[in-house]
């Protein structure tokens, strides 16, 4: 039985001599940001905005809240740049901030209703558009009905291909806890999403 292989994120260069000026590492950009280099910070934002936005949107289900959380996360990174030490990957550090913000935001508000799901522009036919919208609504609603920690673990594992260890670091727990979170999430999602996958 073939098993799935998770894609590993590119590793940070080990030595300064390996760093190309045209594509500096996250650690180098953070060091420059700490020195007041706003262009370095802008480069960090552009490099990671998509995954941050993606995680926030999947976890919160609302574009405005996702934008607030994403911006807040990057500004916290900016403020903490002088204290940042590359003991772990920058993406793990960034995910830990986004995770905490999503958990805090979720605890402060009611669960999001499916009617609030944002629409994505598409050039499909009207029927295909409706089917896609309905599929998206079901998937997003199923995700949003999970407890927030299961939600975050699902997105980071199944969509962003983060390892259990990376997710555990981001959520400040153990890999075993992540396995349990994912197992419970799978049990909750499977009955609601299995027919969607079969329809592909």
């Amino acid at each position: 039985m073939p098993h799935e292989r998770s894609q590993k994120a590119p590793s940070v260069p080990a030595a300064a001599s390996e760093i190309d000026d045209m594509d500096p590492s996250d650690a180098r950009l953070m060091a420059a940001t700490a020195g007041g280099d706003h262009d370095a910070f802008a480069q960090l934002v552009k490099r990671h905005q998509k995954r941050v936005w993606h995680l926030a949107y999947r976890s919160l289900g609302d574009a405005r809240e996702a934008e607030d959380v994403s911006q807040d996360a990057f500004l916290r990174v900016f403020r903490a740049a002088a204290r940042y030490r590359p003991s772990a990957r920058f993406t793990t550090y960034l995910h830990s901030i986004v995770t905490r913000l999503c958990i805090d935001r979720t605890r402060k508000r009611r669960p999001l209703l499916s009617d609030h799901i944002d629409e994505i522009p598409t050039t499909d036919s009207p029927v295909a558009t409706l089917e896609r919208a309905e599929r998206k609504r079901r998937v997003q609603q199923a995700i949003l009905e999970l407890p927030v920690k299961q939600r975050l673990a699902v997105v980071m594992r199944y969509e962003q291909d983060m390892s259990h260890r990376e997710i555990a670091q981001a959520m400040q727990t153990t890999p075993k806890s992540i396995e349990r979170l994912l197992a419970r999430a799978r049990l909750a999602l499977a009955p609601r999403l299995s027919d969607l996958a079969d329809a592909e």
Partner: protein, 175 residues
């Protein structure tokens, strides 16, 4: 291996984190257990459903707004714009490679020319000034303004009156 154990190891198995023995045991169980095979299929379906359902794109101006907010926070916190070093480093990083090579060559040439052209200069500006004074032949233009205030005071001046009074007092004391 029991079904509960297999389910427990699903994520590790998917992430290739199991030992070879565990992996063989899981694969053997999946091949013979319809229930666990269905659970494994469900996991795959969840992943496919999530990946096939896009999220809205990041707002086009998100990065610029975040950067602007960060810049405002920096100026509020430090009370100043980024340091000259940070600004120069930022300009350097934006330059193309040919531009960097040209700038570096120009800097090296300027240093070289400065070193060669300055070889005949005196060791310090002070040494240059005093050296020029020593070789000057023209008279000191300030000489006309120098006078001994106690012996060559102009007639009718306050100094002359004081000196005259002081000299009479000294003569009276000697008598």
């Amino acid at each position: 291996m029991q079904c509960r154990t297999v389910h427990h190891h699903f994520e590790a198995y998917a992430g290739n984190l199991c030992s070879r023995r565990q992996r063989r045991a899981i694969e053997s169980h999946l091949a013979s257990c319809p229930g666990c095979q269905a659970a494994w299929t469900q996991r795959r379906q969840i992943q496919e459903a999530l990946r096939s359902t896009p999220v809205p794109a990041v707002p086009a101006d998100f990065a610029s707004r975040v950067t602007s907010a960060a810049r405002e926070q920096w100026q509020i916190t430090t009370g100043s714009t980024p340091s000259l070093h940070a600004q120069l480093w930022s300009i350097w990083r934006q330059m193309s490679r040919p531009a960097k090579v040209g700038a570096g060559a120009g800097l090296a040439l300027g240093i070289l020319l400065g070193a060669v052209g300055g070889a005949g200069m005196p060791a310090s500006p002070a040494a240059a000034y005093h050296g020029s004074l020593a070789t000057r032949a023209e008279p000191d233009p300030a000489a006309a303004y120098r006078f001994d205030a106690l012996t060559s005071a102009p007639q009718g001046s306050l100094i002359a009156a004081y000196l005259g009074t002081n000299a009479e007092n000294q003569l009276q004391e000697q008598r």
